[in-house]
């Protein structure tokens, strides 16, 4: 019996040893073998990361006028994915009574296209505290009333295409940006400066790591980094000039719609256009207009499908979102004769003063064995009589340049492509490098391009099976800016700027500087865009005659093509030099179902002998350059003169480059960290003019009249 007891007791002992071995083994497995993984889980268990959205940087014009800002606004969102069918109607009815917005409007905003279908939709913005309280008090299901920072464009459509707009992230952006701590609800730059400078404008989000217990209560802050506000972007645009440019372009287009085309007998559709104002001494873009335009505020708060379609898919105002100044490709027309003239001079083919008898057309001489089209007519088959290089430009003789281009074709050797080379030299066929997205490079046709186009898409380019060889006719068309030439308005302005300033081809700047607003380097420039010189061109002997020809374009006595537009223009000290163009557009107008009307083009600089500004205007299907585009340019020049008086020229009168008192955004005022940046006696948020008043051009505070006395 005792043996049996001892045996069973021993068995019990072995059992206990076995159980403890199991416990040790399990502890080893958890604490030694799997420790790392479980420690990670323990970390994510108790640490909650809160991402704080940084304040987006502003966009300002060159003188500090705010073009894009942030405001705190009360918003009401409705998350309809949480509703049972039918419940949404009840909620919207209640909401409609609370915030006094019709139910139809609310439900139409629920159909907003800009955000994810399942995300909460913003149905009302701009509420004050009381509005928010009224809504949150009711605690309607799925309805949230809260403060939100919202992008606002105080100048509305002024500079819309340059500034761009912000919107909900696209799928591709979401994958990329969420890794950079963007919040899913955040709006990101979708075009223009907002898009290009997204990284600078956005800033760095703040991260707070909170230690949270099982019931969600916060115990302590493990780690905290404050959000760094995004940098401000200062444009080279002047808001007033921009507004004037846009307004004149729009007025010009409307006026063109009231004129009848001689070709078709219909009114010009005059659907859109672009205008660029550039400082030709440093490549700063002062204004850039594109029509049709839009108000970027529409796209921030959310937009219904109907609204979107009516604005952005309107066939009568196509491509409202496109910035035609850098994205629009146009045949330059006669404006391109500058290139042909310079190419002819370069190839020593033109004797500038040699007389040429313009009979209204140019016929390829029989000895060249012409195939295809052999006779090329002037615009209205009008014979201009005797012209030389200067008057051929002034009066826009096509026949003269047909001959130049034709003769250039037959020069064998490197000068055969003189037109194309000169165009390249002036920046055509390449992106200018302006800080705007989706810039087109255009093209200057030569043998390779023609061949490539014809072979790639014979139906569109070569329906009649013409030769893929570069023919004399192709060169002739190119010589007057038709055929295989397409340019953007910014290229036109830039090329004329290079010619006017004596050969410096800039990469135009539309951004002056990016100025930090972070605590550490408040007010200092992160990026400064100095004038960027692409190349220095040397123009051939005789280019003075070309200049002379361009001078005459607004002259009645010299029968310039734009004289009528500049009749009564106060040319004193502000005379212009330029070139009109009337470009045949290819294809049919998709809405009107008839052949496209001519596009009006005008490029000019002023003052004539001390060139400072260049203006390029392109108007689609609006008629003659001298009749439609030149009046627009004239009014822009008049606005420019006023602009120069308002902001005396920095090269004439020195201006302190930075304001004395930095402007502190309202949200940051009162922070000790920022007070050190503000000199004593400097009021918060007061805008100190960047340039000085006319009475005190050097900006030292002493009126000039008194200074002279000293």
């Amino acid at each position: 019996m005792n043996d049996q007891l001892n045996r069973r007791l021993a068995f019990l002992g072995v059992l206990i040893v076995g159980l403890f071995a199991a416990l040790f083994a399990r502890a080893w497995y958890l604490q030694v073998l799997n420790s790392e993984e479980l420690a990670d889980q323990a970390f994510s268990n108790h640490v909650e990361i809160v991402v704080t959205q940084p304040t987006r940087g502003r966009i300002l014009d060159r003188h500090g006028v705010v073009l894009a800002d942030n405001i705190r606004t009360g918003v009401v969102t409705v998350n309809q994915s949480r509703y049972a069918p039918g419940q949404v109607d009840y909620v919207l009815e209640e909401l409609s009574e609370l915030i006094d917005i019709p139910v139809e409007v609310l439900s139409s905003r629920l159909l907003d296209q800009q955000t994810h279908p399942l995300a909460a939709k913003v149905v009302a913005t701009g509420l004050d505290e009381y509005g928010l309280l009224r809504v949150s008090e009711q605690s309607l299901p799925g309805v949230e009333a809260k403060w939100a920072m919202s992008r606002v464009y105080p100048q509305n459509e002024i500079g819309a295409h340059v500034i761009g707009y912000v919107g909900a992230m696209s799928q591709g952006q979401e994958d990329r940006l969420l890794k950079k701590d963007y919040l899913p609800s955040e709006r990101v730059g979708k075009s223009g400066i907002e898009q290009i400078f997204e990284a600078d404008l956005h800033g760095y989000p703040g991260r707070t790591e909170l230690e949270v217990d099982s019931t969600g209560r916060v115990h302590r802050i493990v780690n905290q980094t404050n959000p760094k506000p995004g940098s401000d972007v200062y444009l080279t645009i002047d808001a007033d000039l921009q507004a004037a440019t846009e307004s004149y372009l729009r007025q010009g287009l409307i006026a063109a719609r009231k004129t009848v085309s001689e070709d078709s007998g219909f009114f010009y559709p005059s659907i859109g256009g672009a205008a660029v104002v550039m400082d030709l001494r440093n490549g700063d873009v002062l204004a850039m207009a594109s029509h049709p335009t839009y108000d970027p505020n529409w796209l921030v708060g959310g937009i219904t499908t109907l609204e979107y379609q009516s604005v952005f898919e309107n066939p009568y105002a196509p491509g409202a979102l496109n910035n035609r100044a850098v994205q629009g490709l146009y045949s330059p027309g006669s404006v391109f004769k500058l290139v042909t003239a310079l190419a002819g001079l370069e190839a020593r083919l033109i004797s500038p003063r040699a007389a040429y008898y313009d009979v209204g057309y140019f016929k390829i001489p029989d000895k060249y064995g012409c195939t295809g089209r052999c006779t090329f007519y002037n615009a209205d088959k009008a014979p201009l009589g005797v012209v030389d290089l200067s008057s051929a430009i002034t009066r826009s003789s096509d026949a003269y340049f047909y001959k130049v281009a034709h003769d250039l074709y037959w020069i064998r050797g490197e000068e055969q492509w003189a037109i194309q080379d000169m165009a390249q030299l002036l920046g055509f066929g390449n992106q200018t490098g302006i800080q705007l997205p989706f810039e087109k490079s255009g093209r200057v046709g030569d043998g390779q391009i023609k061949e490539a186009l014809f072979e790639a898409n014979p139906d569109a380019y070569n329906p009649y099976g013409e030769s893929v060889q570069w023919l004399p006719g192709d060169n002739i068309n190119t010589g007057i800016g038709q055929g295989f030439v397409s340019v953007t308005p910014i290229q036109l302005a830039n090329a004329y700027a290079a010619f006017a300033n004596g050969g410096t081809l800039f990469s135009p700047n539309i951004v002056e500087s990016v100025v930090s607003r972070t605590e550490a380097q408040f007010g200092s420039s992160v990026i400064d865009f100095e004038p960027r010189i692409q190349r220095l061109a040397e123009f051939p002997e005789g280019s003075g005659i070309v200049r002379e020809g361009l001078h005459g374009v607004s002259s009645k006595s010299r029968r310039g093509t734009a004289w009528r537009a500049f009749e009564g223009y106060d040319a004193a000290g502000y005379a212009i030099a330029g070139k009109t163009g009337t470009a045949q557009a290819e294809g049919r107008n998709p809405v009107l179902q008839r052949k496209k009307e001519d596009s009006a083009v005008f490029v000019a600089w002023a003052p004539r002998h001390d060139p400072r500004y260049v203006v390029a205007v392109v108007m689609e299907e609006a008629g003659f350059g001298g009749e439609a585009a030149a009046p627009v340019a004239r009014r822009i020049f008049e606005a420019l003169r006023a602009y120069e008086q308002r902001w005396p020229d920095p090269q004439v009168a020195f201006i302190a480059p930075r304001p004395e008192c930095p402007e502190i955004p309202e949200a940051l005022r009162g922070y000790e960290a920022f007070t050190s940046y503000v000199p004593e006696g400097c009021p918060w948020g007061i805008q100190v003019p960047r340039a000085n008043s006319p009475g005190d051009v050097d900006g030292d505070g002493i009126p000039d009249l008194e200074e002279r006395d000293q």
């Binding site: 019996m1 403890f20 040790f24 958890l30 420790s35 889980q41 115990h219």
Partner: protein, 383 residues
């Protein structure tokens, strides 16, 4: 010169196993430390005294030590005579708790006495009573249990099991099963009888689980069943039934080899492991002291169990032997079940870890049983 006394006349204190008492006191000291680390943060956060639980536990431990000493001095053979009375008394208490007890966490298992900040759990005291009564019963039959007497022993177990089932408290029921199995296994009962009755027991248990499927009434609550089976598949319903298992394993694993340091464990501090000052107190040790701390604790327990095992062998008295076996079974089961539960190799049942878990009844009972074993060790040379 001192004459050698006869063994019987020597003071029992000379033979008493003091190291067992020392081990128990050391364990309860660790317990007090862990009570603090698992409650201070939450109490402080709520603006209460962070020492609230520690103070109470120190009182329990002091009470337990007093009980242990008292249990040591009174000759244990006297207990044999009062075994039946004690058993009856406790059974009455278990019946009474069903009517007069207070309900906590869905179980009616506690007496609330006026003027006391803590409650009394009669089921804990029933463990001692059952150990003594069962040991007395087996000893009365000279360790020879035939089928009829075995059935009687089962009946002795069945009464408290049934009463606790009505509370209900599944974990404590299992402790009684463990005590019974241990004592009956070591006793002279024939293995085939034990085997057959165990099989019956298994069938009953399985029947309980599936009674609702078989058309009968649901005998186990949904939550009980889920918690019991969750350890088989911890991925299931993370925030629900298996939440405890996952969180306690994460806490223990996060401790690594050397632990995160006392009061530094995030799982423990932030109350991510439920019931961490009572049933899941082992997780606090695992997280803050790591594998080293776990090893020290388990070795301390192992030492204690080894001492009890040796005293069991050394005892000349059948009652003493079986009382020791009962205590051994109880401690072994509670330790293995509790620690195994926190590490995910046993199902979740509410069983305290002896000496460590916060609680008056369990601490006093554990000390009392250790006192009984020391008592037996002191008088093993007698009879």
């Amino acid at each position: 010169m001192n004459l050698p006394l006869r063994k019987e006349l020597r003071s029992p204190l000379r033979y008493a196993d003091y190291s067992l008492g020392a081990a128990a006191i050391l364990l309860s000291a660790i317990g007090v430390g862990l009570n603090y680390s698992s409650t201070w943060r939450g109490l402080e956060f709520n603006g209460q005294d962070p020492l609230t639980y520690v103070k109470r536990q120190i009182i329990f431990v002091a009470l337990g030590i007093a009980v242990m000493i008292a249990a040591t001095f009174l000759d244990y053979r006297l207990y044999r005579d009062f075994a039946n009375q004690a058993y009856l008394l406790v059974m009455l208490a278990l019946v009474g708790v069903l009517f007069f007890g207070v309900e906590r966490n869905g179980a009616r298992a506690w007496y609330e006495l006026p003027g006391l900040t803590f409650q009394i759990q009669p089921a804990e005291f029933a463990k001692v009573a059952v150990v003594i009564a069962l040991a007395a019963f087996v000893a009365n039959h000279d360790g020879h249990l035939r089928l009829v007497t075995l059935s009687n022993a089962y009946l002795m177990l069945a009464v408290p099991l049934g009463l606790i089932y009505l509370q209900p408290d599944l974990g404590t029921m299992l402790v009684f099963v463990a005590i019974g199995m241990g004592v009956l296994l070591v006793s002279g009962a024939q293995l085939k009888h034990i085997f057959v009755t165990s099989l019956l027991g298994v069938i009953v248990v399985v029947g309980m689980f599936n009674s609702d499927n078989l058309g009968g009434p649901a005998l186990l609550r949904q939550t009980q069943e889920q918690r019991l089976t969750a350890f088989l598949d911890p991925g299931f319903d993370v925030q629900g039934a298996s939440y405890n298992i996952n969180q306690s394993q994460i806490a223990i694993g996060a401790g690594g080899i050397s632990g995160q340091g006392w009061l530094q464990g995030t799982q423990t501090n932030l109350n991510l492991v439920p019931e961490q000052e009572t049933d899941f107190i082992f997780t606090a040790l695992g997280e803050e002291f790591g594998f080293i701390g776990v090893s020290v604790l388990l070795l301390l327990y192992a030492y204690m169990l080894a001492r009890i095992w040796f005293i069991t062998r050394a005892s000349n008295d059948l009652f003493g032997t079986f009382a020791c076996v009962g205590a051994l079974s109880m401690f072994t089961f509670q330790i293995f079940q509790n620690v195994g539960m926190t590490m995910g190799i046993m199902p979740i049942t509410g069983i305290p870890l002896p000496f460590l878990s916060h609680g008056g009844s369990s601490t006093v009972v554990a000390f009392g049983l250790v006192g009984l074993v020391i008592n037996i060790s002191a008088r093993k040379h007698l009879t």
